[in-house]
Symmetry: C2
Subunit: 209 residues, 2 copies
């Protein structure tokens, strides 16, 4: 799951001629859900969005207070285009969670945000509609958040597989033990260098660390 | 280098009471330069920003045309906060290129964009100033771009080092050959699983592939 957080002086959403919601000071969140996202990603994202220190405190000290601590507003808008993989210059959105699954998931994220904060201070767009989102970015201050599981990147999967195939080749030469199916599954999910290396090597060499 | 591209109906920048620039249809680019960025990252970013297909063609086919092909405008604003590492809930910006280096680099990126497109269609903010950036996000459509070298992530470095330390531990047990200083340097630069695994293992096992 990816979120682009913009600190705003004000923000609003218009569909056709109708303004469907608006906020004053606070944050505008554009939220992109990937096919791989789970409840764990949602919980991480809600926690970070509400607690990220993007505002100054009463003494003017920067990066001191969160949107909740300042009692500011949140405008959250679903944004599948954040789950974009470039194929040359053409965006491909197959990593985005399909709308029929993303909509209830997205609504549950909004509900979690409302439960964790004040329901009346969390505003929304119209899921799936063609909207004009008017963002008065204050600073500007823009931060990108990625949930722990991270986005699905087919290129990354390909690289991970190439790495595993290489290990298989080594194994065939009798240098390594067989990779378990469980590890193979895990390694595809892990997208970060450290994790893949450590897990793969831990398994291969039996290192307790 | 990171860029957040928002497709816009219009966008403008205000400093104090003065509107310093404005565009009609096109893209608003928030650009975050990291300490590690080089000319190569700049070239990649300029190329992608101008050629990314975010607009429909004359027949209404989506994701068909770039900002250049439609002869739309670009508003580019420097945004160091994109080079943010979270320490808990506090953003840390030590990965951002310091302003005295970032400003000439950023200006050269703008110049490259103007040379590659039409100078009068590339607008700018006021580097380093406190601005209000008014973005009328059309769709919304938001895409994040990361240049090939990618952002510096201390956590990632830590993981890569942990991985290398583990390999050293294996080496001490006589299982692997010594890691060269060159590879050690490279492995810190590589941030993606596949690259680290393949390079490290290629070196360790002498695989030609």
């Amino acid at each position: 799951m990816k979120a682009i957080i913009q600190r705003v002086t004000k923000a609003s959403v218009t569909v056709g001629e109708d303004q469907v919601s608006s906020i004053g000071r606070g944050i505008c969140v554009l939220l992109g859900i990937s096919v791989d996202d789970t409840q764990r990603d949602a919980e991480y994202m809600v926690r970070k969005i509400l607690n990220l220190r993007l505002f100054e405190d009463e003494n003017g000290r920067a990066w001191a207070k969160s949107v909740m601590e300042r009692e500011f507003e949140v405008l959250c808008v679903s944004q599948f285009t954040l789950q974009c993989i470039l194929k040359g210059n053409k965006p491909d959105f197959h990593s985005a969670m399909p709308a029929e699954l993303a909509q209830p998931f997205y609504n549950s994220i909004l509900e979690s945000m409302r439960s964790a904060y004040k329901p009346e201070l969390i505003k929304d767009g119209n899921f799936g509609a063609y909207m004009q989102v008017n963002i008065l970015n204050d600073g500007p201050v823009t931060v990108e958040l990625t949930s722990p599981a991270g986005p699905t990147d087919p290129k990354q999967h390909k690289k991970t597989f190439a790495c595993l195939n290489f290990l298989d080749w080594q194994r065939a030469k009798g240098k390594f033990m067989k990779l378990s199916e469980e590890l193979r599954r895990k390694a595809v999910v892990f997208t970060q260098a450290g994790k893949v290396c450590r897990e793969v090597l831990k398994h291969l060499c039996g290192c307790p660390q």
